[in-house]
């Protein structure tokens, strides 16, 4: 639904639906954590969290109905965080082990 000013308004039903989706995904997060999937557990937990965040961004924060510029700002924020973590992790992961360094 759109108001006269062109603003997208979500219905009650839709908002409750998103809430339910988020609750279900929270349950999945917890459930999956207790299943041994080896190294996949961590990336999977992050993936589910990412989906939940995406749902909040798109529907509660109205990104789905926002301008391209707004979406770009959200993407850039995420991308810059990834740059910070990726480059820093790359340093640690590419260090040659030195005898006597922390355990």
């Amino acid at each position: 639904m759109q108001t006269d000013s062109g603003v997208h308004v979500s219905s009650y039903g839709f908002s409750f639906l998103i809430f339910a989706v988020l609750l279900v995904l929270t349950g999945v997060t917890v459930g999956v954590a207790y299943v041994d999937l080896g190294w996949i557990n961590t990336p999977l937990a992050l993936l589910i969290a990412g989906v939940k965040a995406g749902v909040v961004l798109a529907y509660f924060m109205h990104l789905k109905w926002s301008t391209n510029l707004t979406v770009l700002v959200a993407i850039i924020g995420l991308l810059w965080f990834i740059i910070l973590v990726a480059f820093t992790v790359a340093d640690y992961m590419s260090r040659v082990p030195v005898q006597g360094w922390l355990g």
Binding site: W80, L84, A90
Partner: protein, 544 residues
């Protein structure tokens, strides 16, 4: 010619301290910032004077070692965070951006005023830290010294910098929104003055980089309060992690400090060459490229820290890449001047100084970014010389160029050109004498942050200190004639330099609402008539 009516311009519109301290007018806020940054410049400069006096002799005869550590630390902190970062954007950017965009104010005037108060409070904490004895960690706050072992006012200084950072963020948000949403009719992106492009790129860095510094200083504070090993290796932490987080902001920060200056130079070169700028889009896009690439090179400050060699290689290569857009700008400025009709007014003298000194500073940055070479010159005076060539030789000269260029617009007064030319030349000469010897000193092996050195380095140090004195006098002279112009200067016309851009189409000083009637933009911005391009008649006829 547009006459200025004193009662109807922003300076005369209201009187009294309250009208300034509670203003929402971006022009007044720009002037408030101008006062603030000037104040902090002289405080930071005072620390530098003491340092250069001490360095005139090889022994530690003026100040104790601990005091010297505090001097260079406070000099760096005050100059970086309280002067260089806000210098052009917060004073001139605030004043000029709405005018250049044909707008009545920035998008968020109240947030703008708040940013000034946040800036002054942060500055107050930092100056308080100095008053209580300063910090001795260097402006870089490296751990575990800053987080565990230092006995100086780390918390006070860190809190000061933390608070000041939010001023940056608020300014950046304001600028980005204003540029996106409040351009005058007809003002498309590629008709924007390059000053605006430069501030757009700067604002992106302010918004994305500053928060990381904030959280990093917070972690240092937590470590200091609780002693829990976030950055202390003896407790399981990693000091290099601090460096990653610190430089993630502090490298892009140097582009915050230089990009606005580049925007100023673009405006001045085209005006005083009487020629449209060469390669407008290249300059615009190069600002954006610097902003983006600038975030990918921070590890070049950490080549010898213990960072992985492979990371070092990657950061080194990316550092080569980030130098390219800067070089593109220099070539475009030179091409603009080529076959132009150069006018050697004082803003142009500063601008020409910028180009030469920035080129040297930038090239030496490439030396430092070369992994193998950096092993020899890291933490020497070579580094000190490099960044002073950029920060002082380039940025401060651009700042002075901008002050002189837009002074008539901001205050409605002209200043004595002869004094200005003299001071500009004095600044240029003093700067080279002060800082070029430092390249030699660094290459010969004199470490930075040392106040004791071998006797054979004294000559170069004395030259440097002498140059610093000349530079200092050169900075004081404009204070005299610029302040004097407010009283006895001739009233300025709307466009005393014959420049293009919307800000010159309104009175000097501008009215409160900036324009009598909101402007519409019909053509490109730098439509200076090129003095030497005259089509031979045969060509015109052949085209039919």
């Amino acid at each position: 010619m547009i006459e200025a009516n004193p009662a109807s311009n922003y300076l005369g519109a209201a009187h009294g301290l309250r009208s300034w301290l509670l203003t929402r007018d971006h022009k007044r806020i720009g002037v408030l910032y101008l006062l603030g940054v000037t104040f902090f410049f002289f405080i930071g400069g005072a620390f530098a004077v003491l340092m250069r006096f001490e360095l005139a002799t090889p022994e530690a005869d003026l100040v104790a070692s601990d005091t010297y550590n505090r001097l260079f630390s406070m000099h760096g902190i005050v100059m970086t965070f309280l002067f260089l970062v806000p210098s052009i954007p917060a004073s001139l950017g605030n004043f000029l951006l709405p005018l250049m965009l044909g707008a009545r104010d920035l998008a968020f005037p109240k947030l703008n005023l708040l940013s000034w108060y946040v800036f002054m409070v942060g500055g107050l904490f930092t100056v308080a830290a100095a008053a209580f004895g300063g910090v001795d960690t260097g402006w870089t706050f490296y751990t575990p010294y800053s987080s565990t072992y230092a006995n100086s006012n780390v918390m006070l200084a860190a809190v000061g910098v933390f608070i000041t950072g939010f001023s940056s963020i608020l300014t950046g948000v304001n600028f980005i929104v204003t540029i996106h949403k409040m351009r005058a009719p007809g003002l498309t992106w590629f008709r924007l003055p390059l000053f605006v492009w430069a501030h757009y790129a700067t604002s992106l860095i302010m918004v994305l980089g500053t928060p990381v510094l904030a959280i990093t200083l917070l972690l240092v504070a937590v470590e200091r309060l609780l002693g829990v090993g976030i950055f202390d290796p003896s407790l399981g932490g990693d000091p290099i992690l601090f460096q990653h987080l610190f430089w993630f902001y502090s490298h892009p920060a140097v582009y915050i400090m230089v990009l606005p200056g580049m925007g100023v130079i673009s405006e001045i070169i085209t005006c005083f060459a009487r020629k449209p700028i060469f390669g407008y889009k290249f300059i615009a896009f190069s600002s954006m490229a610097i902003a983006v690439l600038g975030f990918l090179v921070w590890g070049h400050h950490m080549f010898v820290s213990g960072q992985s060699v492979y990371a070092g290689v990657a950061f080194s290569m990316l550092t080569m890449a980030v130098s390219v857009p800067s070089a593109i700008k220099v070539f475009n400025w030179l091409a603009t001047m080529f076959r132009g009709s150069i006018v050697f007014d004082s803003p142009m003298i500063y601008a020409l100084g910028f180009i030469g000194l920035f080129t040297i500073g930038g090239l030496t940055g490439v030396f430092l970014g070369t992994l193998g070479l950096d092993l020899h010159v890291h933490d020497t005076y070579f580094v000190v010389a490099h960044f002073h060539f950029i920060m002082v030789g380039a940025t401060v000269m651009a700042y002075l160029a901008a002050i002189h260029f837009w002074w008539p617009k901001i205050f409605g007064r002209t200043f004595p050109e002869n004094w200005a030319k003299f001071a500009a030349l004095m600044v240029f000469a003093g700067f080279i004498l002060a800082f070029f010897p430092q390249f030699v000193l660094g290459y010969l092996g004199m470490p930075r942050r040392y106040h004791i050195y071998p006797d054979e380095f004294q000559m170069l140090n004395v030259l440097s200190s002498a140059g610093a004195s000349i530079l200092g006098v050169g900075y004081l002279i404009p204070m005299v004639y610029l302040l004097g112009s407010l009283r006895i200067g001739k009233k300025a016309a709307a466009n005393p330099w014959g420049a293009k851009g919307l800000e010159w189409k309104t009175t000097s000083p501008p009215p409160v609402e900036n324009f009598e009637t909101p402007p519409t933009v019909e053509g490109d911005v730098y439509e200076y008539k090129n003095p030497h391009v005259v089509r031979p008649p045969e060509v015109t006829l052949a085209r039919g």
